[in-house]
Each structure stands twice: as C-alpha cells, then as structure tokens.
Symmetry: C2
Subunit: 399 residues, 2 copies
C-alpha cells in the first residue's frame, strides 16, 4: 500500500537515498537518466538525491558514458575508500579480521590470538584490533560504517546477543553490545555460516541465487540458508544446524546426545583424529613419515592425498560420503540452486568433489539433485569474516 502522501518526508528521503545508492551499486557505472528511468522518479528528484550522495562521499562521478544522441551522460559509481567496515570472526583461539571499503573490496586482513576465550577477552581483543586498523588507515569515526562479528553459534537476530556458542563455551553473552558501548559505533552479530552466506550473496558465488545454502566445515558444521533472496534464520535463530543430521546410526556419541551426527563423522577434528588413529594402527600411508603425529593437520592429510596416498584419499572420500548423506537431505528438503562449501572444506574439496556429487546424485531425488550446483567457496577461510564486514554495508544500502 503506498504511503507517499502521509507526509513522513524525512523517512521517505532516507529510504529513497538508500534505494538509489543500492541501485548505483548494482548497475554501476550508471547515469542519472538511467536511474530516473529505472525508478520512475523524476530527473529533478534523482538530481537532488544524487547530489546528497555525492556530498556525503558515498559515490563519485566517473568519466562519461555512451550517448544515445545528445550530450554524453556523466556516470556514477560507488567511491572506493570513502567509507569502511570491519568484519571479525571469533573462533576458539583467535579472531580473524578484515577491513573492507564501501564497495566490498578487501583492504586489509589479519588475525589476533585469543589466549582466554571469554566474551570479555574477545571484546578487548576486538577493540584494540579495530583501533589499530583505524589508526593505521587513518579512518575517522565518521567514515567507519560499523563492525560485524561472526561467531560459531546461535545468535538472536533482533538483540544481536549470542544465545549459545558451544565451541566457544558461551551462553547468553552480549559481546556486540559491549563493543558498541566501548567504540560508540554500530556493531552487529551474526552466526558464522550465515555470515558466509551473506558474503557469497553480496560479493561471491550466490549474487544471483535466491535459494542457496552455505555449509561451513571446521570444528563444527553449520549451514547458512537463503530463501527467496533473504537470510532464513528460523523462528528462534537456529535454522541451519545441519551438523546434527544423523549420517551413521552406529557412529560415536555427539555433544547433542545423538549418535553419528554429521559433526561427529566429518568435522575437521574428527578427520584428523581418524588419520592419527590410522597411523597408530600402522596403515600404509605417507602420513607415517610425519615427525609428530600429534601435530598432524588437515593440510598434511590433503597434501598426502594429493601426492597419491591411497589411505589419506580414502579418509577424505569417506568424509565426503558422510557429507553427501546430510546434503542429500538438505537437497530434498530445500531444493536449493547452489550449495557452497566453505572453511576447511576448501583445503581438500577439489579432491572429493566427484565423490560428493555422486553421493548426492545417488541419494537425493533426481529433480532437486539435477538442479543443484555444488561449489567450493572461492573466499577460502575468510568468507564469514568478509560476510561480517558486509553487514554494516547492507544497512547503508537499505538491505
């Protein structure tokens, strides 16, 4: 229902500014005339809004476009390095961070160790990290759009409190609120897998996908789901807990109380544990040559498999089969157009993609299986950190 005559013009102006800014982002480079044509707003109205966006420095004029007769139009674009956003990804023993500009471009990245993993210590480390970045790049408070934080846990999407993050040992904590208080900047909190999904949707493989799932594999396994082009978080913010789909009824007991959950069969920790056991049992494998079996990493296993080690390859293939069982359920239930696999899966994904594909083709129904593309995240380990940084950008663009 149109409300344009209710007179709330300040709201409408902000609404229109965000909308036009978002249109410029999507169509850039774009002329004022095109903006007028696409929105139905008058050239005068567009002129006023564009002027305001130019004055605020969100956009700049960049050369001239093709003319269809008459004067060549001036083109508009987002202005790189005008405004910034910081994304933080809090994990068990470290915080990964990125600095991006208004265009979503990665400006700087790094990580800081976390000695003690309490919400309090994470907040302190985050604060000093953000202050360092702002100093180093001479970014003043006015040009910092905000901070997004990604955590491996359930987040309340209204209050931005962490409801439960089992791997961090957090329950009902409010690091976003604490950081907001200290920095006096907007701070948002998001689930890690959903942060990855936001990243893929904004600057990654799912910019044109309406219904897709990002599955992150690390110490836990979780999914970020988009339906109808929007983040789907469920009724109490815990949608996407695919790590607890049972993939082997005879598997080991999971922290959730069930047996053989995907997380207990295919998490990174579990794969490494199985490789160590393999070595100790004397299975023929190049992994036996490692100096310290206890320090064996997923990277070691992937490298061995890549060099032709059959035992290492079998282990990764088995992991992909468990993953395939869970993803088949997801494919049947959600019929997504894409599933993007991220985090530690990017270490060995190329080795097992054929296995994963064939399990899904064999187990899911033909129509949804045919219609789903399986992809390894091109953002590597940093998708959720980038996604966290995108949250303040999305607010600016009214998304």
């Amino acid at each position: 229902m149109t409300k344009s005559r209710t007179g709330n013009s300040k709201f409408l102006k902000a609404y229109n500014e965000a909308g036009i800014l978002d249109l410029i982002r999507m169509k850039q480079p774009v002329s004022r005339a095109e903006l007028s044509k696409k929105t139905g707003l008058s050239p005068t109205a567009i002129g006023v809004i564009v002027l305001s966006l130019l004055e605020k420095g969100y956009i700049h004029e960049t050369g001239t476009g093709e003319s269809k007769g008459g004067r060549k139009p001036v083109m508009l674009e987002l202005k790189p390095d005008s405004y910034y956003s910081v994304g933080l990804d809090i994990d068990v023993d470290s915080i990964q961070f990125v600095l991006t500009d208004i265009t979503g471009r990665l400006v700087h990245e790094g990580s800081v160790p976390l000695a003690v993993n309490t919400a309090d210590s994470a907040v302190k480390a985050s604060e000093s990290c953000i202050n360092d970045i702002m100093d180093r790049f001479s970014i003043n408070r006015e040009r910092m759009l905000g901070i997004g934080i990604s955590v491996p846990g359930m987040v309340d999407s209204i209050s931005h409190r962490v409801v439960l993050a089992p791997n961090l040992g957090w329950e009902d904590e409010d690091p976003a609120g604490m950081l907001r208080e200290r920095l006096q900047l907007p701070v948002y909190m998001e689930n890690e897998a959903m942060s990855s999904a936001i990243c893929e949707n904004w600057i990654g493989a799912c910019q044109k996908a309406s219904n897709f799932v990002c599955v992150n594999i690390k110490s836990g396994i979780g999914a970020g789901i988009f339906t109808g082009g929007m983040p789907y978080r469920g009724t109490s913010g815990s949608a996407g807990e695919v790590g607890h789909i049972v993939v082997d009824e005879n598997g080991p007991r999971c922290g959730c109380g069930n047996y053989g959950c995907l997380e207990t069969m295919a998490s990174t920790g579990r794969v490494v544990e199985k490789a160590r056991k393999m070595v100790r049992q004397g299975v023929v494998s190049s992994l036996n040559d490692l100096e310290n079996v206890d320090a064996m990493s997923l990277e070691n296993i992937a490298a061995a498999a890549r060099a032709g080690d059959g035992a290492a390859m079998n282990l990764l293939d088995e992991t992909a089969r468990y993953l395939g069982i869970a993803l088949s359920n997801l494919v049947n239930t959600l019929n997504p157009s894409r599933i993007v696999l991220g985090k530690d899966f990017t270490v060995y994904g190329d080795l097992v993609m054929g296995t994963l594909r064939s399990v899904i083709d064999g187990k899911a129904l033909k129509r949804p299986a045919t219609n789903v593309e399986l992809l390894i995240s091109e953002k590597g380990d940093r998708a959720s950190t980038l996604g966290a940084a995108i949250i303040p950008l999305k607010k600016l663009f009214g998304r």
Copy 2:
C-alpha cells in the same frame, strides 16, 4: 522505492483495492475511518475504494460499531456467498472437491471416483464436477473466482504444469491448462502438501506463523514449507520432499533407489502392510478378529490401539518414532515455530503424539526443539482440498 508518481493509476487502483480488501478480511468488522488510519490513505481515497468494493459485491456494510464520540461508524465485512471458489484434490482413485465462498467458509464438499487415472480422465471428471456444483448452487461464471487443484507431486509454480506425480503415474502433464481451456475460468495447480500449508496459513493453525511446515502422511509423505510468511517451493518446485529422508539404513528399498526412506517406513500403506504381516505371523492382537485381513485399514488399526490392543499400539508408536527421526532433521534445519501433521496422521495422531514429541525432544537440538509446536491438523483429510480452493481467493486479495 515508491512509484506513486509514475502515473500508472489503473495499476495503483487495482493494487489498492486488493490491499484494502485484504485489510478488511484481516480486520473485519472494520470501519472506513480505521482503514484510513491503518493505510495512511485519505478518507476520500478510502471512500472511493470501499464504494467500488461494495459495488462489486465483495464486501457489505454490517451494523454499526463502537463510537469514540460522534456518529457510530458503519462497519465493513467480506460478504458471505458473494463469490466462490472450487478446490480439487486429485488422488490415485478419486477426486475430492470443496466449494468455498469468498470468506473461506466451506459451503459444500464431496468426492468422485476415478476409474482410470490419466490426466485426461481427471480433467473430464473435474469439469463435470465443477459444472454440477455451479448448477446446484446457481453460481454463474462471474461469481466463480477460479479453481485450485492439488496433486501429490511436483508442480511448476510458474506454468502450473505437473512435472512429476509418481503415485498418479503422471509426468509433464497439464491438467490445469486443459481445464482452463474447457471452463474458461482461472485454474491453478499446487502440490498437495503446499496446498495444506496454504490452508493452515489462511484459515487454520498457522495464520500467525511465519516459518512452519505441514507434513502430509498418506501413500506418500511430503511437506509444505512456509518461510517468512510465504510459500517456499525451492528452485525447481520440489522443496519439502521429506518422505525421502533416510530413517533406517537397514529398511526396505524405496522407489527413489535408497533404503529405509521415511516413506518406506511410515506411509499408510506400509503401516497397514506391517499390521497384516503381524496378524499372519500370529501376534496376539484384536486385529486377528477382523473378517478379512486383506481389507484391513488404518482405521481398524487405530481403533484396535484405542481399545487397548498393545500390538496395534506398538505398531503406531514405531511409525511415530520413524516420523520423529525425520522431523528432528527438519527441526534442526528449518527451526519452524509449528509443524502441522495432516491427512492419514489425523486418524491416529492423538495416540502417538507423546512418542513423536519425545523423539524430537531427544533427537533435535534443544533450542529449536523447545521452540516448535507439534499439531494435528484440525482440517482432517480435507486441508489440501480447502487449500486448493484458497488459491483463487489469495489472488483476489493480492496475496
């Protein structure tokens, strides 16, 4: 972005009429003043739209409401029996039908047998059924909003063609198009479980739920999913195929090629088959007293369990446990606020609700399990038929 000044006033008028009609539906009885207040449209604009809706006969004036000082306002309501819609549910051997009026009230219902189950014979039976109804209730073409058809299969939500309905043996059929041609009325096609979900959302248990799932149990098992208050059909219209979640790796082979799919363990046909086997194996049960074991029905089994037959009760409990395993996956993945179980589950649901609840509480994660209500559909066997009839109504209300 507001488009109110683009001058497409005919579009805007229709848009506003549908919007106001929908508001009247939700707030009825409601006065013109309240409509003006809720929409921000001027009293004059509301007056024009309401007059048009009165003239078309969608609404009527009904008594006077409470005054807050001054003249008592005239109240507006949808006008019962002004316009109608027919819903059809095509199953293997019969077509169920309902006639509803603009308010969603059930006016008439029944079923016709289907001797041969081809799309062609279903269309012929549907046509004569609809003509009979229109004759019997003296409904002319102008007062018939349209026809909705529900089928147990995948439907293309754009073309309304049936992509695949394994139980009917249909592949790429267009009964909606054929019926549209014959009747010269709008005809819509929808998946059966989604039709049930539309029914629960419009007039049933999920009118206020944004994220919910309706699970229908019959010869097959399927789910209709709503996310963010909207039907979620997935990328190629096959979301909700929960019948193929594997619930027993050692179960029998399913038509889909897997072993132990929910459908093979908990469909109505499977439960009856297991009961017959039980009787033949001489298990102590009142079901042994049935005259004809081959004619045993789900109703017989439920009646026996209700009368205290332990063997029958165990069988239904086992069915609920399989269902619980699949629903736990759904709860973890979608975090819905409600799951409504329908069709044949309404025959025995009250007997096994405790078992189902405890399996989900035991297997799903605590937070989503705590936040989901499990309900038996109060619409009994007719939810999908009513849902089909609601589709043409939704179009009228701009939904």
